[in-house]
């Protein structure tokens, strides 16, 4: 008796269902019509139709960041696939698990410059963790299983699968077999930290007088924030988070000294600069953190824990490298500290905290609300108050992103969703939609600006179709704020192309998409109107807040300086 035969398209959908995929985000087109036909005839996997493929990738990305699951995208060949490129690169830079299924012209036409043919595997090669071409229909399910395994293990990242149309059509049928327990001889991400390195790290911790913990996005990805908190408390060390690591420890924890880096707090950067031991956990010494690497923390010994060996000693040399999964390594460190009965030296710690607290007093992050023009920072504070710090905050890229990072202390991991590595404008709204889909009962905010929101504003239509009532808070300063800030500070105040002189009426625009539009123009109405926006539960609210267009983000590192060379406000150095 022959087994039941399936088309490649049916196999794709069956494989996704077997891998517990609930949603895929995509846009149909010629080469993937068979997959859409297969999707139509089942109920396990729900397809979300976006208005532009870039938004599909960001939506899948937001979904993945909030849930920890793999985000799945479906796009047609050619322009559908190339529209995914920015979203794939965004996910790659921030190590987000994603699988992108791309159509391709029939095998017989590949290489002929056929209609809507692009070598998407070639195009995406530098920005994927891995990619697959399918050549035989029966391979499809296991390729998808492998893609999920690669995307979600080790240092996660996007995986692209190219599916030629002839393998999807009824002309090539095959038996369905899927091996979800994937083993690969060429890919075995290391899990445990080497025990000798753990011992070395603990020895260095014992010897340190001025220890600081520098924790990044790896903590969020590894679900290691509880262990991190336990470790920080055991060490009684100050801890700073990177932009990607916010929420890794509660933003209100007594040991937390704020975000570090370009727009980090003075105390975080000063503490780093003066430390004798930096315990780097799932962070990668990005140039937006280090400032001038030649001047980076000259007195510090560095323990660097990361799952990806290439991140270690890439920009800053690590004295004690530890390769492994963060949750596993943190447990190993805790066990070793407990086994050796670690207690911080009270006097040394007290001295160190005294120094740190002095820097804390200089200025954490602050602004002055003068006059009636709303300061953008004030909006974030109001947003924090109203949502009691419990909202998912999905950010676009620019000044509003930095203000949100500075003024919304995140209590939990995965609450802060932003494109940190690639810095993709247009990320915020679709990412928020992905989060709302996963957590319909939670407050999901898209914090954005008049520049960023227009880069994927067409998704307001998708929000209506799938009832995704996110709250969009746009800090409208009638200009590209971060560009303008740099022009003010570095380019002699010449505002070259940083104005948006033909902005739409965002209230009417929201209304025309079937949503609620709201404008806030006066300081005294800020809290009431924002409150009102959050009480509307079942409709999307677009809040257009007119803020002071001259406001700059401070503190800010001084170019080419050390990590703690900073402006704390205009003309004032820390």
């Amino acid at each position: 008796m022959t087994k039941k035969q399936f088309t490649g398209a049916q196999m794709v959908v069956k494989a996704l269902a077997a891998l517990d995929v609930k949603y895929i985000f995509g846009y149909p087109g010629g080469t993937v019509l068979d997959i859409y036909d297969a999707l139509f005839q089942q109920t396990e996997v729900e397809h979300i139709l976006v208005r532009h493929e870039q938004a599909a990738t960001h939506m899948a990305d937001g979904f993945a960041r909030a849930t920890g699951e793999v985000g799945v995208v479906l796009a047609t060949s050619g322009p559908g696939a190339t529209n995914c490129i920015t979203g794939i690169a965004t996910a790659y830079m921030d190590s987000i698990p994603m699988v992108v299924l791309s159509g391709q012209v029939p095998s017989t036409l590949i290489g002929d410059d056929a209609f809507q043919e692009t070598d998407i595997v070639g195009c995406s090669r530098p920005i994927v963790k891995h990619s697959f071409n399918c050549r035989v229909v029966e391979e499809i399910p296991n390729i998808i299983a492998k893609a999920f395994y690669i995307a979600s293990t080790g240092r996660p990242g996007p995986v692209v699968i190219e599916l030629p149309k002839d393998l999807l059509m009824p002309t090539s049928m095959g038996e369905f077999h899927i091996e979800t327990d994937v083993k690969m001889r060429s890919y075995n991400p290391s899990i445990k930290g080497h025990h000798k390195q753990i011992k070395k790290a603990v020895k260095a911790i014992y010897e340190a007088k001025k220890l600081v913990v520098y924790a990044g996005g790896g903590i969020i990805i590894a679900n290691a924030s509880e262990l991190l908190t336990e470790l920080v408390e055991k060490l009684d060390a100050p801890i700073t988070n990177t932009l990607m690591g916010l929420g890794g420890i509660s933003g209100t924890h007594k040991n937390y000294i704020g975000m570090l880096g370009m727009h980090g707090s003075v105390e975080a950067n000063k503490t780093m600069a003066n430390a004798d031991l930096i315990l780097a956990l799932g962070a990668r010494f990005d140039d937006r953190v280090t400032n001038n690497v030649k001047k980076f923390c000259p007195d510090a010994k560095i323990i660097h824990v990361d799952i990806d060996p290439t991140s270690i000693s890439k920009t800053i040399n690590a004295h004690i490298p530890v390769v492994g999964l963060l949750d596993v390594v943190l447990q190993q460190l805790l066990d070793e500290l407990t086994a050796t009965d670690f207690k911080p030296n009270k006097e040394e710690r007290a001295n160190w905290w005294q120094e740190v607290n002095q820097w804390r007093e200089i200025n954490r992050v602050s602004y002055v609300q003068e006059g009636d023009q709303i300061k953008p920072q004030r909006v974030i504070e109001a947003m924090y108050k109203i949502t009691q710090g419990e909202a998912y905050v999905c950010s676009d890229v620019g000044q509003h992103q930095m203000f949100a990072a500075q003024y919304y202390p995140f209590a939990k991991p995965r609450q802060w969703i932003n494109s940190g590595g690639l810095g993709t404008m247009g990320f915020g709204l679709p990412a928020a939609m992905g989060v709302k889909l996963a957590f319909p009962e939670s407050h999901v905010i898209c914090i954005t600006g008049d520049g960023s929101i227009q880069m994927n504003i067409q998704e307001l239509s998708t929000c209506l179709q799938y009832n995704l009532p996110v709250v969009i808070i746009s800090l409208n300063n009638r200009s590209l704020g971060m560009v303008r800030q740099w022009q003010d500070m570095v380019y002699g105040g010449r505002h070259s192309s940083s104005y948006m002189e033909s902005l739409p009426d965002f209230v009417k625009l929201a209304e025309s998409y079937g949503h609620v539009g709201m404008q806030i123009n006066h300081l005294d109405e800020l809290e009431d109107k924002l409150n009102e926006a959050f009480t509307i539960k079942n409709r999307l609210v677009f809040v257009d807040v007119l803020v002071d267009e001259k406001e700059h983000v401070y503190p800010m590192q001084i170019r080419l300086g050390a990590i703690d060379d900073m402006w704390i406000k205009k003309g004032v150095k820390a």
Binding site: N133, M184, R185, P309, S313
Partner: protein, 165 residues
């Protein structure tokens, strides 16, 4: 400093382009690169000659190792190893004098003449890069070089050490 890396990887379509792409993407230098399947047809072996200081080399090794298709990578120049390159060179050999001279040089370098045309000799020579360079220079002083092709180096560790599954 010149280094020779040996890479064992899955013999899959696209795996070579990932290696080459990685080198250009990260601005690593490739002096030469050779690739062929091994006796186990599911595996390919690549030899890459590159240049860089210790820090750059460490990144190259780690980045190549990170590619999903790559099974193993080793720096052959860390230890004693055998390194060979193949040269095929076509030179003008028009009269008795130049034919005799070309033959004599070829013998000294332990190459062999593998083809003869009306006016040309084609010579095969293997050795390390230095030997091949010396041979080419010597020939160039004696006669005209019509064309030449070099394989890029391949290498293998001496003794028991081996790059295998």
């Amino acid at each position: 400093m010149r280094r020779i890396l040996a890479v064992l990887l899955e013999n899959e379509p696209g795996s070579l382009s990932r290696i080459v792409g990685l080198f250009s993407q990260r601005a690593f230098n490739i002096e030469s690169l050779t690739v062929a399947p091994t006796e186990d047809q599911s595996l390919s072996r690549i030899t890459i000659a590159t240049r860089g200081d210790d820090k750059v080399l460490e990144q190259i090794v780690k980045q190549v190792n990170k590619l999903i298709d790559v099974i193993k990578i080793t720096d052959l120049t860390e230890r004693s190893h055998v390194e060979r390159e193949l040269l095929l060179i076509k030179v003008l050999a028009m009269n008795d004098k130049s034919r005799t001279e070309v033959k004599r040089i070829t013998d000294i370098f332990r190459g062999s003449i593998v083809d003869i045309g009306k006016q040309v000799y084609t010579i095969e020579l293997t050795g390390d890069a230095e030997k091949l360079n010396a041979f080419v220079n010597t020939l160039a002083n004696e006669t005209e070089i019509i064309e030449s092709v070099r394989s890029g180096c391949v290498g293998i560790a001496r003794g028991e050490k081996a790059l295998r599954l």
